[in-house]
Structure formats: structure tokens, C-alpha cells
């Protein structure tokens, strides 16, 4: 039984990180209907900035986490301002091509730095011995990572539900013309969505980096992993991203915990999420929480 709970705990840890990674992706899609292919690169950059500030500059890790979130906030905002602002109103495929281009550019920039070729790992500031409770164990890094994730996701939900800017973002995602006509600056809302996405990506990157080590390919892969997560949750739902993130984490842990090694199976954690995704989409094509528009004819 404790094996089961162990899998549940690791599932939630991985899942909450998926949720945080997916959050930024959903924010951008929700407000501007743009699929940001370069999201994984932004996650990786956030992690590298934290490392550079902590190890090379010598700032305490929590301060550099905050600094990295602020830097990514402004970096993403400038990306929107420079590359995407002029594409407002253009066909969606052109916009997606631009984010693919952005992905290559960011890849190129990262390969110029040591992070492109060398694996680093964060110095451990937290106790190394994991916490054990009745046969179930969780490392301090994982625990702190989950706590930070929960705080951030809670903050984002509050922001969306309550703050004026959050409400304008919802209005823009609902009807752009109407939003403009009541005095909301749509470009500004797009910029803000990118900025918030950058901020959450940086946090996600730093947490992943602390748990798995700083490997560019691993970090970058999170930009791909978010796809099944956000499609499962419904592309434009923040709640959906969180729930689907956790579901995905649990599925993966159960798959590798119970299926691998049985009947000659291996690497099921990488396949099963997609199989389940396909099955769910058969019944709920808009994902679990996605907006299902009913058109009156």
C-alpha cells in the first residue's frame, strides 16, 4: 500500500510542475489564441537565469528565483511587443510560424552559453535526507517545489477571478471587439498575458531545474509535455491546466510504477498519457474544461 501512496506523492509532485508549466501556455492561448511553441525555451531560460544569479553572482536562491521571474516577465513582454504585436489580426498559422522561429532563435542563444552543452546542478540548500512518513518519502526539494507551485497557481487564479487586469484578460478572450469597445486596450492585455506566461515559466523552470538538474533538453522538453496536458484540460482553461497537469503526473507515475517490467513493457510513462489523451478526446473533444461554443443557427 505504501508503494501506491509513494506513487501518488511523486505523481502530484510531477503533476503540479506540469500544471505550472502549462499555465503560461494557457494564459497566452486564452487571451490571444496563439500557440506558443517556444514555451519550453522560456522555461529553460528562466531556470538558467536562476542558476547564473545564484551560483555565478552569489545571490540567495529565493531572491534569484524572484529576480528571474521579474526578468522573464519583461523578456516575454518584449518578445510580444517586438515580434507578435505586429501580427495581430494576421492568420493564426503565420503567428505560429513566428513562435517556431522564436524557438530556434532562443535555442541558438542558449547554445552560445555554457548551458547549451554542459549540465549543471543547483547546490543543495535544503536538507538532503528526505522526509519519511509511514514508508512514503518526499525530498525537501520536491516539497518546497510543490509549495511554491501551489502558491503561484493560487495567486494566478485569484488574479484571474478578481483583479481588473485579470477580468480584462477574460473579456479579451471572450470577445475582442467588445473588449475594445468598452475601453480595454487589447494589445496591452496580450503583452501582459505574455509577461505573466514568462513569469510562471521561469518559476516552473527553476523548480524543475532544482529537482532534475539543469539539462537543456530536459527543460526544453517541458514545452512539448505541456501539449497533452493543455489539450486534456481544454486549451483555454486555467483550472483545466492544473487538473490535467496532476492527472498527467499521476498517470505517468502509475504507468512506470506498475506497468514497466510487466509483460516485457518499458517506457510506458511516455506513451500512456497520449493513449489516455486520445480516448478522452474521443468523448470530450474540447478537453475536460475547455470552452465549448454552442452556435445558434
Amino acid at each position: 500500500m505504501s508503494y501506491f501512496f509513494q506513487l501518488v506523492i511523486s505523481g502530484i509532485v510531477v503533476g503540479s510542475i506540469y500544471a505550472l508549466s502549462a499555465l503560461g501556455f494557457v494564459l497566452i492561448y486564452k487571451s490571444s489564441r496563439v500557440l506558443n511553441i517556444a514555451h519550453g525555451q522560456i522555461i529553460a531560460m528562466g531556470a538558467f537565469i536562476v542558476y547564473a544569479l545564484t551560483v555565478w553572482v552569489g545571490i540567495p536562491i529565493l531572491v534569484s528565483l524572484l529576480a528571474s521571474m521579474v526578468i522573464s516577465f519583461f523578456l516575454s513582454m518584449s518578445v510580444e511587443r517586438i515580434f507578435l504585436r505586429r501580427l495581430i489580426g494576421e492568420p493564426i498559422i503565420s503567428v505560429i510560424m513566428v513562435t517556431i522561429g522564436l524557438m530556434s532563435i532562443l535555442d541558438g542563444i542558449i547554445y552560445l552559453t555554457p548551458f547549451g552543452s554542459v549540465n549543471f546542478s543547483f547546490p543543495s540548500v535544503l536538507p538532503v535526507t528526505p522526509i519519511s512518513l509511514g514508508g512514503v518519502s518526499i525530498s525537501w526539494t520536491q516539497l518546497v517545489g510543490v509549495i511554491i507551485t501551489v502558491i503561484l497557481i493560487g495567486g494566478f487564479s485569484w488574479f484571474f477571478k478578481r483583479s481588473t487586469l485579470g477580468i480584462s484578460m477574460r473579456a479579451v478572450s471572450d470577445d475582442q471587439l467588445a473588449a475594445m469597445s468598452i475601453g480595454i486596450s487589447v494589445p496591452r492585455v496580450f503583452g501582459l498575458a505574455w509577461a505573466m506566461a514568462g513569469l510562471s515559466a521561469a518559476a516552473a523552470g527553476a523548480i524543475i531545474g532544482n529537482i532534475t538538474g539543469l539539462n537543456f533538453d530536459t527543460l526544453r522538453a517541458f514545452g512539448i509535455v505541456v501539449f497533452p496536458v493543455v489539450i486534456l484540460g481544454g486549451l483555454d482553461s486555467v483550472v483545466g491546466a492544473v487538473v490535467a497537469g496532476i492527472i498527467m503526473g499521476l498517470i505517468q507515475q502509475f504507468a512506470s510504477g506498475y506497468l514497466d517490467g510487466q509483460w516485457g513493457l518499458n517506457g510506458t510513462a511516455n506513451v500512456l498519457p497520449y493513449i489516455i489523451l486520445l480516448v478522452i478526446l474521443l468523448f470530450k473533444p474540447h478537453g475536460l474544461f475547455g470552452t465549448h461554443e454552442i452556435e445558434r443557427v
Binding site: R162, S163, T164, I167, S168, A171, D174, D175, L177, A178, M180, S181, I182, G183, I184, S185, V186, T291, E293, I294
Partner: protein, 253 residues
Amino acid sequence: MKTLTISDVTLTFGGLNALTEVDMRFEQGLITSIIGPNGAGKTSLLNCISGFYHPSKGEIHYGDRPLTNASPHQVAKLGIARAFQNLELFRGMTVLDNLLLARHHKLNYSFLHALVHFGKASRVEAENRKVVEQVIDFMELEPYRKRNVGSLSYGIQKRVEVARALTMEPEVLLLDEPMAGMNIEEKEDMVRFIMDIQKERQTTIILVEHDLGVVMDISDNIYVLDFGELIGYGKPSEVAQNPKVIEAYIGKG
């Protein structure tokens, strides 16, 4: 007196003139209608005023403020509100939320104020709710306040759209075919609302409408467009006698 003036406006889409050297004046507190056959450029003209299009030539002023290159949200903040021809409502929200959202631009308290939610923020919020309730009352939307907009009938949705514009307490109200697709009863209601808005709020109203009976009844002035050109202007009785207007509508005899 704040007048909305359009001087010598030309709007070109790749060599095709949607509007050609159009001059118009909209006097404060009057209902001015723009009529013309389909494709005459009526909606294009409204789009120029609301900042969705920018004229290729010519200028638009509200009072002494230039609007020529203003963006839609800036125009909205100057007190020029609009109800669209094809419904543009926040369909996922209730009627009440749609209207509250339109008070968004009045929310000028800081983020910190919003966070603690007392003092200025709660005062502004209370004021906003009061205005919204007045508009709901005025537009007779009480039965629908908590209903999701998407679930309401077309006629009521049109009314919500006008209500949302009113919630912004506009000085100028642009109405793009507010009566299109309505039955007689709904039309009569809408006419009554428009006349009440003019009487009680002294709002300048710019009306684009195909129902000539209604237009002749309630307009103070009428402009007639045809193929993007101004072909007639005057009081309803004058416009009805104008041979060019008759030709555009009925054809050459």
C-alpha cells in the same frame, strides 16, 4: 457644445473607395441617422469613428480632440460608445457581468487599492454597481440580470448590447442597426429606448438603420450615403424629397 465632425474623410481598401470625401457633423444631443443602400459605407464610417479603421485621408474630431488615428479603446475612453451590428457580447458571462465590465475604464484605483478592497476601491465599486443597476432598470432588463447572455433571445441580446454601451455613460452613442432582425414589438421597444436616451441623458446619437419609417420618425438630421459618397443631407422631410436619394433607393424612373 461638443460636436463630432468628420471632414473630407476617404477610406480606401486596396484601390477601392469605401468612403469618398465624406463631410458630416453630429450636433450634441441630437439623433443623426446615416442611411443608404447595402454597401454604401455606413458601417465603415462608424468603424472610422470608433477607431477600428483609420481614414486614408481627412480628419475626425470630437470637440477639439482629434480621433483620426485614435485606437478603439482610446475612443471609448473619450465617451464614445458603440453597439455593434452583429452582436459582440461576452457570451460566457451574465448580463450583470457584461455591464459591470463596461465600467472597467472607470476603475482608476491602483492595484494596491484593489488588493485591500476598501476606501477608494469599494467606493468606486459601489458607484459602478449603482450606475449598472440604473441602466438595467432603464433598459428593462431586470428579469435577465443573472442570465447568461448566450442563452437570451436575439432581441434581448441587442438590448443588452445597447445597455452595455449606456453603462459607460457615453456622450456619444453609435448604434449600428439596433433594430435589424427584430419583430414589430421589439422594434417599438427599441425606438422608445432610443428616444428616452436622447431625452433623459442628452446623449448625442448616431444611428445607422435600414428601417426608413423609424429613421424618418425619430431623426433630427439624416445623412444619405451611396457607394461611399454623401448624396443627401437634411431634416427627414427634406431628405425624403431629395431626387438623388429617391434614385439611390428606388432606381431611375
